[in-house]
């Protein structure tokens, strides 16, 4: 318990950094997912394949390799990336690969006749998308997207590996410091605490995802929930 009081400033800073990282990544991921996810529903074969290739590529490479590639590779290409930027970029590429699939699946879950009826009423494609299809697709998208957010929060722990001072990194530093000063390793207590904090945050998000699913009803087309 003294740990927590002694290191409170440090711990809260780490938590804030984790949340900041998650929010920034969520923002970029959402923009890319909505854009490319919509484009992937168009009847344009080369474009669809290109997006499909992107999705499969980043879903197949281990996330940690992806982040390391960017962190160690960028300086060799003469690009100067801070650890924060490298993690944000790596996780956004991965997150949006999952997000695109969710948005695409959601848009395709809206029955075709909705498009056709709106078209028959003389609405422009633009209006159909924003007023008819997008709102209905949210029913399928929101629960899955909240699930993705849970994974993003978990994935921010990768920041610790490249030196972003987020929550796991703070835990590591506390363990190192106390081991050096006290001789005894508090690793068990500290990592249990870190696990519990992540558990509380992610459980809340998982609960929200399940609540949305119950509330909005399971959509007809299955969106595959992403796996870490």
């Amino acid at each position: 318990m003294e740990f927590v009081i002694e290191n409170w400033g440090f711990i809260s800073k780490g938590l804030l950094m984790t949340l900041k990282l998650a929010l920034v990544i969520l923002l970029f991921t959402t923009v890319i997912s909505v854009l490319l996810g919509t484009l992937a529903t168009l009847q344009n074969r080369p474009l669809r394949w290109l997006i499909h290739g992107y999705v499969e590529l980043f879903r197949s490479i281990p996330l940690i390799v992806n982040v390391f590639f960017i962190f160690f590779g960028a300086p060799l290409l003469g690009i100067d990336l801070s650890p924060f930027a490298a993690v944000t970029l790596g996780l956004t590429l991965w997150g949006s690969a999952n997000g695109i699939e969710i948005v695409r699946g959601g848009l395709l879950s809206v029955p075709r006749h909705q498009w056709k009826s709106a078209w028959a009423l003389g609405l422009r494609p633009w209006h159909i998308y924003f007023h008819i299809v997008a709102p209905q697709s949210l029913k399928a998208i929101l629960p899955a997207y909240t699930g993705l957010l849970t994974l993003l929060v978990q994935a921010t722990s990768l920041g610790a590996l490249v030196g972003v001072g987020e929550f796991l990194k703070v835990g590591q530093i506390i363990v190192e410091r106390s081991t050096m000063m006290g001789g005894e390793s508090p690793a068990f207590t500290v990592y249990s605490a870190v696990l519990i904090v992540y558990f509380v945050i992610c459980s809340a998000l998982t609960w929200l995802s399940r609540y949305l699913e119950r509330r909005l009803g399971r959509s007809a087309s299955r969106i595959t929930q992403p796996q870490p």
């Binding site: 590529l57 197949s60 996330l63 978990q154 068990f188």
Partner: protein, 220 residues
């Protein structure tokens, strides 16, 4: 800086060693995670008092925490209270526990689709509860949960890359280790990305074949 292909050829044996370790750890963990999955799903299905709640808690705990923190807890946390595991077994334990939680859910999802009518039909044929599970419920549930189970196995293979952080000499570790001395990051990471992509593609192909094979009796 140009892409140095000869360098990769030179490092090829080291990468192969890493790949071998990755495959070994993944294969062992996939088998163990399936055992955990079957056991856990069984406990949940038959609502064994206490144990059932513990399994539910275990699944939630694994799914709602980062695998990296789980790994650190096992590798650094457990020895601090006297449970010392070797590098290799810490890795296997972490991956098996992680994937096991997902396999429990996958199997449960499959069992949940077993229709009540099937149960009644089984009873009408005078099947014992055990016979019903062995002959009807489990084969059907297995076929339905197979795609999800194979997905989890593929995820496990990818997540074996996390073992780099504790120093197990698998594929990613070999690459990062070489980069620390030779600074050939682009070549090395490109190479292991291709290897991982190939592994995942092969596994996905096998998965597809297996699913098609199991669906064959049901095609019209």
């Amino acid at each position: 800086m140009s892409f140095d292909f000869d360098y990769l050829l030179m490092q090829w044996p080291a990468l192969l060693d890493g790949l071998w370790m990755t495959l070994q750890v993944s294969a062992l963990s996939i088998v163990l995670s399936l055992l955990i999955g079957v056991l856990g799903a069984g406990i949940r299905l038959f609502k064994v008092p206490v144990l059932s709640q513990l399994v539910a808690l275990y699944v939630e705990l694994i799914r709602n925490t980062p695998i990296l923190v789980q790994l650190f807890f096992i590798f650094y946390g457990l020895p601090a209270v006297g449970m010392k595991l070797s590098l290799y077994w810490s890795g296997v334990l972490c991956l098996s526990l992680w994937a096991g939680a997902y396999q429990i859910e996958n199997l449960r999802g499959g069992l949940a689709t077993i229709d009540k009518g099937l149960r009644e039909a089984g009873m009408a044929l005078n099947l014992q509860s055990r016979q019903f599970f062995r002959l009807i419920a489990i084969p059907i549930a297995f076929r339905i949960s197979l795609p999800a189970m194979l997905n989890t196995a593929i995820s496990l293979l990818k997540n074996s890359a996390y073992l780099q952080t504790i120093g197990l000499a698998e594929l990613t570790f070999v690459a990062v280790d070489r980069i620390a001395t030779d600074f050939r990051a682009i070549e090395m990471f490109a190479a292991i990305c291709v290897i991982y992509l190939a592994l995942v593609a092969v596994l996905a192909l096998i998965a597809g074949r297996l699913e098609a094979r199991l669906q064959r009796p049901f095609q019209q």
